[in-house]
Symmetry: C2
């Protein structure tokens, strides 16, 4: 669908393409057609064909990789590379060309600003890389992103315990009720008493990345098997008339503003 | 630095590499070395070498592209593609292989959850794609991300007015004091009275994407000229002991919790 739209916008209609392949079989015409297709591909990007080839991964192995990678590239890139590094081995391109380490900046809710937890952004990036954007034919990548945000918000984190944890004392678990770094980390720091720079807080976040990687692979494996069912029930634009989280009163208190609504 | 670390982790030390190139000049040894390098590259990804080649772009032209792209792929991917589409033409790879449209999910602060405004995430992705992550030798990509978040938060948005706007009435401008979609869009909706689904709100967000694309290219061009100076003054971990925005009281009111701090 998408590539047809692009071709039409370049003045090559589907009808012209069919005439090209059907009537003129040989040499010059095919070369011309090939040239056009190459131009369209360069414009689109050769990796913008979805879904990307996916082979099912082991959730626990993926989580262990994410845990270790956290100490190299931090939360967002750790989740991304826990999947990409394995698919580079099993599949090769387009995973080999995806610049995983560019996403270090997702750390601390993006360069430490406490916005979307990098483990959530990383999971959403992977789902949408592999399955593709909702405008390209499947909404599963979009829905898996929503499922991850809701699952993360409701989970008692960290869920995953690595085989060889760098911090061996038991870590407190907390529920964020939010997919934001600041809220998630803040509630855990309050419950545990550990400061942001402590080994315990760092290991907690490495385990959160691992927990997200684990659940992400469960969802991707289900999708690969044709068994994925969306579970997120949060529909903010429909419910509140604005893009939003589900926890209005946590910031707004009793004074939640009403968004301007469309006239019915 | 990064590639050396990776090579060492594969058992190929820098010293072995130097012996390989210095002492054994011919055939088999070089082929063996080439094989090793190829393995290392496959592990790293061929696009994980920074900076990516960058040619200076016209900010106004980039903003116009972002404005138009908003109506195809929405805020985050619009900012990304306003830069990538031009560099695909001017430079080619690695831009051609970057799957821009995967980032449609950044819309509405990520699938409508009102978190980081996609125009901010898109700008940070571009800065870190081109300049690379802070662990790879330059902190400019990380700093440009911070500068974009702060600039966005303080700007009277939308700044940019396209040549041929789809909505021709004048749009109200508001200052978000936050890089979050929910806060930015919510304040604009309150001031303007327009609902989320209105053509005016959509055009406001398309212009915000264009404004971010414009300023991002200004910063990238300065960096290319060796004249980039970081401007963001927000240092949440140092100042507050937690990842955070700069507007604590907007959510917490007078009751801003104190984060557990490290013992001095």
């Amino acid at each position: 669908m998408k590539s047809e739209e692009n071709m039409e916008s370049k003045g090559v209609s589907r009808r012209q393409m069919m005439i090209g392949t059907g009537v003129l079989a040989a040499g010059a015409a095919m070369a011309h057609l090939g040239g056009l297709l190459k131009t369209v591909e360069a414009k689109e990007g050769p990796t913008e064909k979805w879904p990307w080839p996916y082979e099912k991964l082991d959730p626990a192995k993926t989580a262990e990789i994410a845990y270790e990678e956290w100490y190299r590239v931090f939360c967002g890139a750790a989740v991304i590379n826990s999947v990409v590094s394995q698919l580079r081995e099993k599949v090769g391109e387009p995973y080999t060309s995806f610049p995983v380490d560019s996403f270090v900046f997702l750390e601390g809710g993006m360069v430490g600003w406490g916005m979307t937890c990098g483990s959530n952004t990383g999971a959403a990036i992977i789902a949408n890389l592999i399955i593709g954007p909702r405008i390209a034919g499947s909404t599963a990548g979009h829905q898996i992103s929503e499922d991850m945000f809701q699952w993360y918000s409701e989970a008692s984190m960290p869920v995953f315990v690595p085989k060889n944890p760098k911090v061996t004392t038991e870590l407190v678990k907390t529920t964020a009720d939010s997919p934001l770094c600041h809220v998630s980390v803040g509630k855990w720091m309050k419950a545990s008493g550990f400061p942001i720079g402590s080994p315990e807080r760092k290991d907690r976040c490495a385990r959160v990345a691992a927990s997200n990687a684990y659940h992400l692979v469960e969802l991707l494996n289900a999708w690969k098997d044709g068994k994925y069912e969306p579970t997120s029930s949060h529909a903010p634009v429909k419910e509140y008339g604005i893009t939003a989280q589900m926890n209005c009163m946590e910031c707004h208190g009793d004074d939640v503003p009403a968004a301007p609504m469309a006239k019915k």
